[in-house]
Symmetry: C2
């Protein structure tokens, strides 16, 4: 028997689409830059290298992505890119930030069912302003007891949150699409992870080491509608 005291949900690509828009932006970026340097210029790798180097200074989110893209476009084209093409990158970021929230199939019903049984909280990382706008727009915010927007989802962050919630790790279940950000740190603290993979996951989020002895507290689903059953199984097991 496990007493589930609280269920945490990730937001981007767990509740609603996000990576699709980043992937589409990346394709647009590659076609803009490709017009100057052709398809063979390792554009994807060079953009990723710049984004990764800039994470420490920009953090996650659309605005950092756009600034990294401006930097990368100028570098990869050796300053030949036109300013109107750079303007397209800035405008693309604004469109992403204004895009309506697109809930994933079955999510509304799954969160409603879980919220009827347990206190649920939202734990999301990235740009505060954009995440708040998406939570407002989602129509789900009334279901969440707390909405925590953090800059990094690592062991110290989850430890601090669980202390604030006054919940022991073994009573906390985190639901999300990223092994690195949603699952591994919670397992490490002694909590439970429910992994709902998304068809697109940023390279950075796919890397995680799950110790063998923690794997028994990990469940994997293919669809949100399996979540209430998975939680019942955890509680009963």
């Amino acid at each position: 028997m496990t007493t589930i005291r609280m269920v945490g949900f990730d937001a981007d690509d767990t509740l609603w689409r996000s990576e699709d828009y980043f992937a589409a932006a990346q394709s647009t970026f590659e076609s803009i830059v490709g017009a100057y340097v052709g398809d063979d210029a390792r554009t994807t790798e060079r953009l990723y290298a710049i984004e990764k180097a800039n994470l420490a200074v920009f953090g996650y989110g659309v605005k950092g992505m756009a600034l990294s893209m401006v930097e990368a476009a100028i570098e990869i084209t050796e300053s030949r890119i036109s300013s109107s093409d750079l303007q397209r990158i800035v405008q693309m970021a604004k469109e992403m930030l204004r895009h309506p929230v697109d809930l994933l199939p079955g999510v509304r019903e799954a969160v409603e069912q879980v919220a009827a049984d347990y206190p649920v909280v939202l734990v999301t990382k990235g740009d505060l302003f954009h995440q708040e706008a998406k939570v407002r727009d989602s129509g789900l915010s009334h279901l969440f007891r707390r909405i925590e927007i953090v800059s990094e989802k690592d062991v110290p962050t989850y430890r601090r949150l669980l202390e604030e919630f006054a919940i022991p790790p073994e009573g906390f279940v985190m639901v999300g699409n990223s092994l690195r950000s949603d699952i591994a740190p919670v397992l490490e603290l002694g909590g439970w992870g429910v992994h709902v993979p998304y068809h697109l996951t940023w390279e950075h989020e796919r890397q995680a080491d799950i110790p063998a002895d923690a794997a028994r507290r990990l469940r994997s689903l293919t669809h949100a509608d399996e979540l209430p059953g998975a939680l019942r199984a955890i509680a009963a097991g």
Copy 2:
């Protein structure tokens, strides 16, 4: 007699310098753009108009500033700006984000004294990632019971925070440099405001209506070292 239950501090331009760096960035922007269009092109006004229009989509902070500057530079120069000049804008943003925190004179001592008498919290708006970095870098974070990074400092935000803290408005004192963000909404809720003006304040933050009947709960200081005395006077008054 007033029982002060909690003291909130703003961060940027109350605890440490911030607007100086934005003002310097704006000068650099004007000199970059001025090389294309001369000094008479209403560059300042046009940048401010674009920044203000973009606030609803970017929020506050360096990254949004930089994206607005890229957009404005292209628009004001009618796409004549070189990509290497645009790269300078991106690099300037990165330097601002990496700049060490520069505490204002007397702030460390004032916060230490206030924290010895009352629970203190930090309430700051803007970019989550950058604000967290500055709090860590400031050496003051251990003095604050809570650090709240919010996307907008308005009446609903302060109402929610005071509910979370379980503090009645009349027991809350907010200390800050912005009448619009730090003082007016707290006075409106029935709390106290201690205004510590900064020599530079962004135009957007200078606009606020203080109702006459709320002005008795407003104090103005010229220097941080007057703060402990001002709080004693509020408590005694």
